[in-house]
Amino acid sequence: DQQVKQNSPSLSVQEGRISILNCDYTNSMFDYFLWYKKYPAEGPTFLISISSIKDKNEDGRFTVFLNKSAKHLSLHIVPSQPGDSAVYFCAAKTSGGSYIPTFGRGTSLIVHP
């Protein structure tokens, strides 16, 4: 049973527009959430994170929103650029215990020029 779900396998967006990638989780013990970006033939790279004590974290063009009651988070990229085309993985973990991140299946984002 997937504890972290990314229900959209792919997303296509025009350059300059907003990209919204969604993630849902089922484990209420998760209290720290991360987004990773992965280019082909490379390992995932950390993008942005958010603690459950916050509902928003912003870093440049990237903003992550957390809705704890809905167990939902989203990554907004504004404005989207062709170089943002990659697979985006949502991950969640508990700050106590083993800190093992649990990953979703990823969403492939394509930003068209």
């Binding site: 720290y32 390992g43 603690s51 083993s98 093992i100 991140p101 299946r105």
Partner: protein
């Protein structure tokens, strides 16, 4: 080193042979993770090390899979009697091991079992 390093980058092996995959984590990172990504799938957790101990091996798919870590540094993932379904990209990550610390990934080893 500056980042997580994995070797080899690619490995093609015959079904039934054993393979060893190596991971050199970021110096000072106490936590080390192995994941695999099969074609079209997400990142599947395999095993977690804290120091040289593996408190969580729950993701290892069968007893053909084993891993060790020495010197709180290098880790080796061994797959015995490889099967075609073992074909995947095997990813290693390390972190400071604290609750909010992000994990840094290596580039992965692409394993193909023919």
């Amino acid at each position: 080193g500056a980042g997580v390093s994995q070797s080899p980058s690619n490995k093609v092996t015959e079904k039934g042979k054993d393979v060893e995959l190596r991971c050199d984590p970021i110096s000072g990172h106490t936590a080390l993770y192995w994941y695999r990504q099969r074609l079209g799938q997400g990142l599947e957790f395999l095993i977690y090390f804290q120091g040289n101990s593996a408190p969580d091996k729950s993701g290892l798919p069968s007893d053909r899979f084993s891993a060790e870590r020495t010197g709180e540094s290098v880790s080796t993932l061994t797959i015995q009697r490889t099967q075609q379904e073992d074909s995947a990209v095997y990813l290693c990550a390390s972190s400071r091991g604290q609750g909010s610390a992000e994990a840094f990934f290596g580039q992965g080893t692409r394993l193909t079992v023919v």
